[in-house]
């Protein structure tokens, strides 16, 4: 409805609450399980599905144009860095696709302050971190431009 939480699987950990970019997954104060508080603000973007270790979050298509039936599930593996999608059509047809998600280890990115500190002179230029060598030039491009008077 679009994202919904399977009652018997949910342990109320709240991972889907913090993952949801649309701020619509909440914890029910009664049963302490997650629920979609506003299905018509759901984008079916899947962060809630991807983050749930219990596989308790699923998606059912928007009721105004999507029939019932069919199922899309996934395995996102951050060790081998691939995602596998399983699409099961209502008529029984199945597709399984695997794609890479990252070429480096999670957590391996060098933060900006671990690059060599720039000089105060460089601060005054238009160059950004790594430029211009990062795109293979020895200078930042500047347009050749006629002055207003010449035009």
């Amino acid at each position: 409805m679009p994202a919904y939480v399977v009652s018997y699987k949910c342990v109320g950990c709240g991972d889907c609450v913090t993952a949801c970019p649309q701020s619509i997954i909440h914890i029910d104060p009664g049963n302490r399980k997650a629920f979609n508080i506003e299905p018509d603000m759901c984008w079916e973007c899947f962060p809630c599905v991807k983050v749930c270790e219990q596989k308790a979050v699923e998606i059912r298509g928007y009721s105004d144009f999507s029939p019932l039936g069919g199922q899309v599930t996934l395995d996102r593996d951050t060790k081998s860095n691939v995602i596998t999608w399983f699409i099961r059509y209502k008529n029984g047809k199945e597709y399984k696709f695997t794609y890479p998600i990252r070429t480096t280890q999670w957590g391996s990115i060098k933060p900006a302050h671990e690059y060599a500190a720039p000089s105060p002179e460089a601060l005054k230029t238009h160059l950004l971190l790594g430029e211009p060598s990062i795109f293979g030039l020895d200078h930042l491009p500047v347009p050749v431009r006629k002055t207003s008077k010449e035009r």
Binding site: P21, S23, Q105, L140
Partner: protein
């Protein structure tokens, strides 16, 4: 209580040198770059959601849509300006667009270094292109990768905070001093004091009524979380805005809004009307008469592609079909614009197409599976979306910003008055959807623009370090009351009625949202009018917006979640008001397919090849709408 979240209303003060509002691609770029240049500065980011998945890249992206390929001599920033100028029918800030063109590659090369899987040609090492400007990626984790670089570079990150207002200096209304907002999970009232602020808080969906109804309201092409906060924050303190009349409509798979880039550019699928005719170029004669030379632009401008589809549908020749079933049947290598090839058996094509959909719009699979819509077997229907207001796609709403000083070089003072990407408010910067007249940034360009703004903000802070801004604490106190007011309105109003979802004493945020969407749709050129309005209609729309604004103090919130929606609605209303006022001022049809002025159906270069800008005066509460001249940087 619907939810276990609390509203405590305790106050927390946060000091920052550079405060970044937002958490998407642009904000993450700003965080990373600001840290590089401001090693000892307090770089603080405040995001409405969790940064790993916040923003328009929440589901991932399957292409980085802006990349020059400077390293391989593929395109120059000049080429990029020409392309964007044609696509936007002759209007854009060439200095800002040029600047994106010369910086965007460095962001994409960083993404690769960080671990984003970019498709590459094994022999040359070149990135494999979708079209002339786009490179293909396996981008399911695009956002968490970019977020990792940003998060590691920040002094502090505050997530799940709705920023409601910007604050100006107690002694100088034209200088930024910080921002206020509240925590969605615990109702903490946050007061941020900052020397420089970068707004990168998205454009807007759900200003105009969505085509889908009920649950489908959420299936806007651009995410529901995009509440126009970039505009709703900057307009009220008097920042000058531009191109707010340039709303965006895109042609997509009907209902599910799957992306079409790869479908057309790589798989070369054909779009036809109901009778099998490839219609896109069949209206050129009429289009030439109304819209002039831009009709000859190659590639055919985005808005004109919509115009062609609209002409077919209005003439009764819908449905428009996307013939993927033919494209997927082919058994030949997939050749791109670089002359590079990929294996192209039917199975390869299917694998690539689904990677493209699942990597950025998994909703496509949910619908296909339920509806037994197998694109390998049957054509898909195509339709234009509802309008959106944003600044990073084939559109350019946003703040009027100071450009790079080395591009226009002092010859155009209206384009250059301070650091790059600074707005007309001192110390207030923008990036991504927040910066106007700078289209076609997409994810990579938004990141690059964030980095530009991040460096500029550091330059500004270092210059002004001895001169900290001061907050007007009485004003802050007043804002705190205003922010939590909907909770009190609800509490007081619900007793009168037997059910809390209807009361004569308040509007719930969904009520206000539906009212806004309906009036914008019917009076300001939504899909139900095929994007058409005129002076009379726009004026009635403005009047109805006034009536809605009178009701905003009576918004009621049953809990913290409603409170979030109340303040998002307020940002949407500010955005909508700017859209209508700008649309009234521009007396021509500049971007057919996005918006038609039926009383001025032609594009009029003689009188209107200029920017429509606006400035709201917070003291008098009046809007001033005016034009700014066009400056050409890159010759034809």
């Amino acid at each position: 209580m619907r939810t276990s979240t609390k509203v405590t209303r305790r106050t927390k003060l946060v000091d920052a040198d550079v405060l970044i509002i937002g958490g998407g691609m642009a904000a993450c770029g700003a965080a990373f770059e600001a840290r590089h240049w401001g090693r000892n500065l307090r770089i603080v980011m405040v995001d409405k959601a969790g940064t790993d998945r916040s923003g328009a890249v929440a589901a991932g992206l399957a292409a980085a849509n802006t990349f020059m390929g400077i390293k391989w001599g593929e395109n120059t920033p000049e080429d990029f300006v020409k392309y964007c100028r044609n696509d936007l029918m002759g209007i854009l800030r060439e200095d800002l667009v040029y600047d994106i063109g010369r910086h965007v590659d460095s962001s994409v090369h960083l993404f690769e270094e960080w671990g984003l899987p970019i498709w590459k040609d094994k022999t040359t090492g070149k990135y494999f292109r979708e079209g002339r400007w786009q490179v293909m990626i396996d981008g399911e984790s695009y956002k968490p990768i970019v977020a990792e670089a940003a998060k590691k570079s920040l002094t502090a990150l505050y997530e799940y905070i709705m920023v409601t207002h910007l604050l100006t200096d107690a002694n100088d209304p034209d200088r930024i001093a910080g921002a206020v907002g509240f925590g969605q999970h615990d109702g903490t009232f946050y007061v941020f004091r900052a020397n420089a602020v970068i707004v990168a808080a998205a454009g807007a969906t759900r200003i105009f009524r969505t085509r889908s109804t009920g649950e489908g309201h959420g299936r806007s092409w651009y995410p529901p979380s995009a509440s126009g906060s970039s505009y709703g924050l900057m307009i009220p303190i008097g920042a000058e805005m531009t191109c707010m009349e340039n709303r965006l409509v895109v042609g997509r798979f009907k209902d599910v809004y799957n992306p079409v880039g790869m479908v057309f550019l790589l798989l070369k699928a054909k779009a036809t009307n109901a009778y099998g005719h490839e219609y896109e170029q069949s209206h050129v004669k009429e289009q030439r008469e109304l819209y002039g030379k831009y009709v000859e632009s190659k590639p055919f401008p985005t808005c004109l592609r919509n115009d062609s589809l609209r002409r077919e549908a209005v003439a009764g020749r819908a449905p428009i079909y996307l013939h993927l079933e033919e494209a997927l049947k082919k058994n030949e290598p997939i050749r791109n614009v670089q002359g590079l090839e990929l294996p192209g058996s039917p199975q390869d094509r299917l694998q690539k197409l689904w990677g493209y959909f699942l990597g950025m719009n998994p909703s496509a699979a949910v619908y296909s599976a339920a509806a037994n819509a197998d694109y390998a077997v049957q054509p898909a229907e195509m339709m234009t979306t509802e309008p959106y207001v944003m600044g990073s796609h084939a559109t350019m709403s946003g703040a009027w910003a100071s450009g790079p000083s080395d591009v226009l070089d002092g010859t155009a003072p209206e384009y250059n008055w301070g650091h790059n990407r600074m707005t007309t408010i001192k110390g207030l910067f923008g990036a991504g959807d927040a910066i106007g007249a700078c289209p076609h940034k997409f994810s990579s360009g938004a990141h690059a623009e964030g980095r530009i703004a991040g460096k500029s903000a550091v330059q500004y802070v270092i210059e002004n370090q001895q001169d900290e801004p001061s907050l007007d604490m009485d004003h802050v106190k007043q804002l705190k009351e205003e922010i939590f007011h909907p909770l009190d309105v609800y509490k007081d109003g619900k007793a009168y009625s037997t059910k809390d979802y209807i009361s004569p004493d308040y509007l719930l945020p969904t009520h206000g949202l539906f009212r806004l969407e309906k009036l914008m749709d019917e009076y300001a050129g939504g899909w139900s009018t095929w994007y058409t309005s005129n002076e009379e209609l726009l004026k009635i729309g403005l009047d109805k917006l006034e009536r809605l604004k009178e009701d905003l103090p009576y918004l009621g919130a049953s809990d913290g979640h409603d409170l979030l929606r109340c303040w998002e609605l307020r940002h949407r209303v500010w955005t909508a008001e700017a859209v209508v006022k700008h649309s009234l001022y521009r007396k021509e049809t500049r971007w057919p397919g996005y918006f038609y002025r039926s009383d001025y159906p032609k594009l009029d270069d003689e009188n209107w090849r200029c920017f429509v800008n606006s400035k709201y005066n917070p003291k008098t509460q009046e809007w001033n709408i005016f034009s700014r001249p066009y400056e050409q940087v890159v010759m034809e």
